[in-house]
Amino acid sequence: MRLRFSIFLVVLAIVWAGAGIAAPAQTPSAGAAPSPHRPPGFLVLDGVDTTDHYSPEIREIDLDGLKKLLLRDPKDTRPLLINFWATWCDGCREEFPDLVKIDNDYRAKGLNFLSVTLDEVADKTKAVDFLKEMKATMRVVLLNVNDPEPAIHAVDEKWDGALPATFLYDREGKLVFKYFGKIKPAELRAAIDKAVGSKQ
């Protein structure tokens, strides 16, 4: 009996070890080839890539501005993905390349991506530099509020402000996916696929 149990443990250990090794390989898109789709804002003039000269614009919004963005233009029936981040947030910076890829992959399929930075106004250039480094071309706004609570609860009553936070609304404006913490790209992509109505 004792022997059987130790066999069980050994087998378990081997399988677990295997799972542990396999796990990192499942992390999608690490080091994957860049998307062939060039987002607007990147120009190739006379064969010269002007990517380095691309300067992202960050508009400042207040609580009302955020509420307006959440309500959306009724004529705009694109699914809406909102990611809240800040340059001071490790998890946000770590997940950003995956979000840039998602933006690149899904923009043509009708995904409306809104990126909201919680950096201080004084740190706006830090955010701009980060977006440049990320080659990010999604719409970015800076939420400038003195008290963050009404803004956080305008997005989600259950959210307490932990960053990063990601929300996906379908064409009808219904919240269909949310994630607090660093996103798992495969999970988010699956939710977006459903929201944009593509067949994988």
């Binding site: 066999i7 378990l12 677990w16 956080i152 913490g181």
Partner: protein, 204 residues
């Protein structure tokens, strides 16, 4: 027979892994158990400090209560509050309410918690919550995040320390106001508040 048994074992362990994977995806912080409601009693727990010495919540609670704050060494928001947390600890120690820090980030080992506290002159006890068990039990998601308990162990406040990372912009001192109400024997008016913070880095 033995072979069949081994196959069964392998299958069983695959099933366990599959279950673990499901449980793993359940680590979505959006799906964390809800934090205890205001008014519920926080069960006593034991955790080691950065030197490895065990403390219970009960032993650290002052005669008028305790403030548990989930902290971090690397989170700039938590770090923006270092001086304020130390001041809070000093101000309320004399009033019988003790500040207890808890570091639940799996990316920040006890040695780092210790050196960080030394550098930032944090004198209150900081406990190391390996495996984020207490963060899970209290439904803590971010740093800094505060829980105030009264002397009987009842939760009276859960949320932000105040409304701004930048001390110049503070207009709502939610935690201090709650503590002062507790000390004055009054019910707490505002029992919590949301603010942006760094997600606690849990074990995966």
């Amino acid at each position: 027979m033995k072979k069949q048994y081994a196959v069964a074992l392998v299958l069983a362990s695959f099933a366990i892994i599959a279950l673990a994977a499901v449980a793993g995806s359940g680590r979505n912080p959006s799906d964390l158990p809800a934090p205890p409601a205001i008014g519920t009693t926080i069960d006593d727990f034991k955790l080691p400090d950065a030197d490895g010495a065990e403390h219970s919540l009960k032993s650290l609670t002052g005669k008028n209560g305790a403030i548990i704050i989930f902290v971090a060494t690397k989170c700039p928001v938590s770090n923006a509050y270092n001086d304020r947390m130390e001041k809070l600890a000093q101000d309320y120690k004399t009033k019988g309410i003790n500040v207890i820090g808890i570091n639940s980030n799996n990316t920040e080992p006890a040695s780092e918690v210790k050196s960080h506290a030394g550098e930032k002159h944090l004198t209150f006890t900081i406990l190391k919550d390996d495996g984020n068990k207490i963060a899970d039990r209290l439904g803590a998601t971010r740093t800094p995040e505060a829980y105030a308990i009264d002397p009987s162990g009842k939760l009276v406040y859960h949320g932000r320390i105040d409304n701004s990372q930048n001390t110049a912009n503070i207009t709502a001192n939610d935690l201090r106001e709650a503590l002062d109400e507790v000390l004055g024997g009054k019910p707490v008016t505002k029992t919590g508040g949301a603010a942006f913070g760094c997600t606690i880095k849990r074990v995966s």
